[in-house]
């Protein structure tokens, strides 16, 4: 087979696949950022309201009405424990809302994704871009939510920041949740998406060590072991280590678990994505 050179275009120099992919990847992120800016009025309430209510009811209303939560440690300790959980929850929700839900739409009703797939980059990178975008959106929401968790409680929150852990753990958690959003986005369709909340998100959040440290589950040993399958547990425990002096799971477990979940969700997400756009 003889080869033919494509007609020269005065506008777009033909790039090497690597260069074209880099440029397209950055442009896809830019597109997502512009869409976020356009929908900020929806993004802010959906990001802020749930954590605010959580913190407000548990750490402001309850202490004020004398209905303490937090077991032996008391109310002040509970506010401190909840800080980590609220931030982790904001991140995981954002991963699902900014990646999985739009993706279900784009795969399902509109097939918009088919055009994104024709951009000059490998299909795996179109999928990874979604996870990276989810990570950035999650980071943004974590920054928005942190002041709520720190300053709304009626009882003092005892913050002891370990900056090294905070600065490494936060991006890792954000990426893992972006990848989780990618994974869910390729596995659910518009018909089944209500199940995503009903049977996936709710168990993950209720059993995610948000309201209690993982060690506190000691008396219910089977549950303590079962929840190790829940990625949110490692996020909450990690943030507990990064932000407070509360007891927490060893970081030697937290980091490898988060890396492992990130790899698993990315791999499965790319696989599911490719299956839906290439036949």
């Amino acid at each position: 087979m003889s080869t033919v050179s494509p007609p020269e275009s005065p506008l777009v120099p033909r790039r090497s696949p690597a260069a074209a992919s880099r440029v397209a990847f950055a442009a896809l992120l830019l597109r997502d950022a512009v869409v976020l800016r356009k929908t900020l009025r929806e993004f802010l309430p959906r990001t802020l309201l749930q954590p605010f209510l959580l913190v407000f009811v548990f750490t402001y209303v309850f202490p004020k009405i004398g209905q303490g939560v937090g077991g032996a440690g008391g109310e002040a300790a509970f506010s401190t424990i909840l800080v980590a959980g609220v931030i982790a929850l904001a991140i995981i929700f954002q991963g699902i809302q900014s990646v999985a839900l739009p993706m279900v739409q784009e795969f399902g009703y509109t097939r918009e994704i088919e055009d994104r797939v024709l951009a000059p980059l490998p299909i795996a990178l179109v999928a990874v871009e979604k996870a990276v975008w989810g990570a950035l959106a999650s980071l943004f929401s974590a920054l928005l939510v942190f002041p709520i968790a720190a300053f709304v409680p009626a009882t003092p929150v005892d913050l002891q920041v370990n900056w090294l852990v905070l600065c490494t753990l936060t991006p890792l958690c954000c990426y893992m949740c972006g990848a989780l959003g990618l994974f869910f986005g390729t596995r659910f369709d518009p018909r089944t998406v209500p199940l995503l909340f009903g049977i996936v998100v709710i168990p993950i959040t209720f059993l995610g060590a948000i309201y209690y440290p993982w060690q506190a589950l000691e008396p219910i040993r089977w549950l303590q072991i079962l929840v190790l399958a829940n990625p949110l547990v490692y996020m909450c425990e990690g943030f507990r280590a990064a932000l407070t002096d509360s007891p927490h799971m060893s970081l030697w477990v937290v980091y490898p678990a988060l890396v492992g979940f990130s790899a698993l969700f990315t791999w499965q997400g790319i696989k599911g994505f490719a299956r839906r756009v290439v036949s």
Partner: protein
């Protein structure tokens, strides 16, 4: 033949889907630079699968395909840089405005912000969408959405664009408007491959056509060449009682000037050379056989005729 001006080439291109369905079966095609090339065939003929393989969306089971000299299976990222695609369904970005759809397409394909903006503006002007620039794409009519998708497909100056059933579902006026747009692009030298099951569209627009059915290439040539293969200059379509149609076909085949007469659905189609006096001769023959004719129409041979000759069935099925 020289390959210098060949933009698309396939060799023994084949696609099997799970369940043993062979959608495309050993297809050999060659599309030249600057031509409008049509894949004509009924639904399920393998047109969309072929376009899918050429645009990296469907992985061939065997065979090869090149666009602008790039092997699309081995080098999909390089290939995607030189193709533009207008799919069957509306895949415009619903989160962006009309202008932004073009602007970001330019950015995806490596244009800087200034060039992307200028090109988006230019194409909006060309496709008469400038006054819609800031609207959400959901506000566009079907015809306008289709024009915007064509504008998007050519924005990065691809070597060829692919249109999959571009006018399916469009009203007649929008269809004409789209044909006009494609005619303008053709005049600028844009290579275009389109799939269609409308023979009028294929006849009007295409320089050359491949007629395919069951994934196989049945005939290849310009519309005129294909129509000339029928050897007829007139097509007479005759309607009678359904139970008499098979007999009518036999009767008409014996009429002077009739080359061939076949039953197609609820009518008999006769291919005629030398049309003078054919209608009275048809009536006389039918009357002699005791068959009452309810309708007769006379037309020039069309691609429909070619398709019936090749497959014994109607394109519209």
């Amino acid at each position: 033949m020289t390959v210098v001006d060949e933009v698309i080439r396939t060799e023994a291109l084949t696609k099997d889907y799970p369940g043993g369905i062979r959608a495309v079966d050993g297809l050999d095609l060659s599309v030249r630079s600057g031509e409008i090339f049509g894949l004509l065939g009924p639904n399920g003929a393998g047109k969309t699968t072929t376009a899918g393989m050429l645009t990296t969306r469907v992985v061939p089971t065997s065979g090869s395909a090149w666009v602008a000299g790039i092997d699309v299976v081995a080098h999909p990222v390089a290939a995607k840089q030189v193709i533009g695609v207008v799919p069957q369904t509306n895949t415009l970005d619903r989160s962006l405005s009309v202008f932004e759809n073009l602007y970001f397409h330019g950015r995806f394909f490596g244009m800087n912000a200034r060039t992307a903006r200028a090109e988006a503006d230019r194409r909006l002007e060309q496709f008469r969408l400038t006054d819609r620039a800031t609207q959400p794409v959901a506000a566009l009519s079907g015809g306008m959405a289709q024009r915007l998708m064509v504008a998007r497909a050519i924005l990065h100056r691809p070597a060829t664009i692919f249109l999959d059933e571009p006018t399916a579902g469009l009203d007649p006026q929008s269809r004409l408007a789209l044909w006009e747009v494609l005619g303008e692009l053709h005049a600028e030298g844009q290579t275009i491959l389109l799939t269609t099951h409308y023979m009028e569209e294929a006849d009007q627009l295409c320089d050359r056509l491949a007629i395919i059915d069951h994934g196989r290439l049945l005939a290849l040539g310009s519309p005129e060449e294909l129509k000339a293969t029928t050897g007829a200059d007139t097509i007479v379509t005759v309607v009678a009682r359904p139970d008499a149609l098979d007999r009518l076909a036999g009767v008409l085949a014996g009429v002077a000037g009739v080359q061939q007469a076949v039953r197609v659905d609820e009518q008999v189609v006769a291919q005629v050379e030398g049309a003078d006096g054919i209608v009275p001769r048809v009536f006389t023959a039918a009357e002699a056989a005791g068959i009452a004719i309810t309708d007769v129409s006379v037309a020039e041979p069309s691609l429909e005729t070619v398709f019936i000759n090749l497959t014994g069935k109607d394109l519209r099925e």
